[in-house]
C-alpha cells in the first residue's frame, strides 16, 4: 500500500511540476495543483495510471480566502487507492475547465456545482435546470447566502415559530462551545 502510494506520488510529481502531494493514512493521497493543470492531471491519472473511476467532485467555499476549492476524487480498481486532486478557483469569477469528456458522469457534478455555487464550467453541456427548478435567488450553497432570511421572505410561515433558531446556536447554548471565528463573523 505504502509503496503504491509512494509510486503514485513519485509519478505525479515527476510528471507535473507545480504539484504538492500529501500522504494520508489508509488508501488516500492528496495532490494540490493549479486549476489550469486539472484536465491534464486527470487525463494522466485516467489514461496512464488506471484511475478510471471518478468517485466525486466536491466543492468547498473558502469565503475568507475568496476562493472555491474543487476536489476531484478518483479511484483505481487495480491500485485500490483514492486520489484527491485539489484546486482553487477565484470566488469572484469562478471559471473552471470542464472535465466531462474524461468521465461522462462529471457532467452531473458540474451541473450541480454550477447551480449550487455558481461556478462556470467552460463548455459544459447543461441543457436544463437540474436540481433547482425555477430558482431566482443567488446560488444557495454559497456561504454568504442567508437561507433563513430567504425562506422567511419567500414562504408563508405558520404563526408560532417566530422564535425558531439556528440549530447551531442551540447546540452552542447547550454545550457552551465556542463558535469558530468565521462562523462568528457570518453569524446572523
Amino acid at each position: 500500500m505504502e509503496e503504491i502510494k509512494k509510486a503514485a506520488i513519485e509519478k505525479i510529481t515527476t510528471h507535473f511540476r507545480e504539484v504538492t502531494a500529501e500522504q494520508h493514512n489508509g488508501n488516500r493521497v492528496d495532490f494540490f495543483i493549479g486549476k489550469e493543470e486539472i484536465p491534464a492531471i486527470l487525463f494522466y491519472l485516467k489514461d496512464e495510471m488506471g484511475y478510471n473511476h471518478l468517485s466525486h467532485i466536491a466543492c468547498v467555499d473558502w469565503l475568507e480566502e475568496k476562493e472555491f476549492e474543487i476536489v476531484y476524487i478518483v479511484w483505481s480498481y487495480t491500485d485500490k487507492i483514492k486520489i484527491f486532486v485539489h484546486t482553487r478557483v477565484d470566488r469572484e469569477n469562478p471559471v473552471m475547465d470542464n472535465v466531462d469528456m474524461i468521465w461522462r458522469q462529471a457532467n452531473t457534478y458540474e451541473r450541480e456545482m454550477k447551480e449550487m455555487y455558481g461556478i462556470e464550467f467552460t463548455g459544459l453541456e447543461a441543457p436544463e435546470e437540474f436540481l433547482l427548478e425555477d430558482w431566482e435567488g443567488p446560488p444557495p450553497m454559497r456561504r454568504d447566502f442567508d437561507t433563513e432570511a430567504y425562506a422567511r421572505e419567500k414562504y408563508w410561515e405558520r404563526p408560532g415559530r417566530e422564535d425558531a433558531r439556528d440549530v447551531r446556536e442551540t447546540i452552542i447554548e447547550r454545550t457552551g462551545e465556542e463558535l469558530p471565528d468565521f462562523a462568528k463573523k457570518y453569524k446572523r
Binding site: 433547482l132 427548478e133 444557495p140 437561507t147 425562506a151 408563508w156 410561515e157 405558520r158 439556528d166
Partner: protein
Amino acid sequence: MINDKNSQKIVDIIQNFARQHSIWVLAYGTGCGAIEIPPTMTSRYDAERLGVRGAATPRQADVLLITGYLTTKTLKRVIRVYEQMQDPKYVIGFGSCTINGGMYWDSYNTIKALDRYMPVDVYINGCMPRPESVLSGFAKLQELIQAGKADGAKKYKENLEWYRTNQKKVIPNWHMPEYNW
C-alpha cells in the same frame, strides 16, 4: 325521484358511507414519511380493514397522502397530481413538515405550510407520526366524510384564485395545463 330532497339525502348517505369505507390512497412519498406507509398497510396495522387501499394512479385515488416536506419542485408535481384526481378527493398532510415546516423551517426551497397551497382535510401530527396516528388520521377523515365536512376540494375550487396566487408565489414559472375537476 332523484331530485327529491329526501331521496337525495338517502343517496348522499349511501354515497358518503361508500366513500367513507372505501378510501383509495395515493401515497405521495416525498420525505421520510413514506417509510411509515408500508407498516400501516401490512399485517401489523392492516389499514385495509378500514377500507384503505393503495391506488396506482391519481385517476383512481380518493386521498392524496403527502408524507413529509415539500420542496417547491415537488409541490409543482403534487399540485398536478391533485388536480388530476377526480372528485370527491381529499388531502391528508402527514408529519409536521407539512404543518409548519418542521425541521426544514428555514430551508431555502421548502414550503412550510401545505394548506396555503392545497386544501388539506386532515393533518397528522408527528415527526414521524407512527402508524397508529396514521390510522387515527384515516379514522378522522372517515368521520369528516360521514359528516360531509371533508370539503377541501370544494374550498379549493371556490378559493382557486387565492390558492393560485400562493402557488405562483413559490413557483414563478407557472406553465401548467389547465386541469380538471
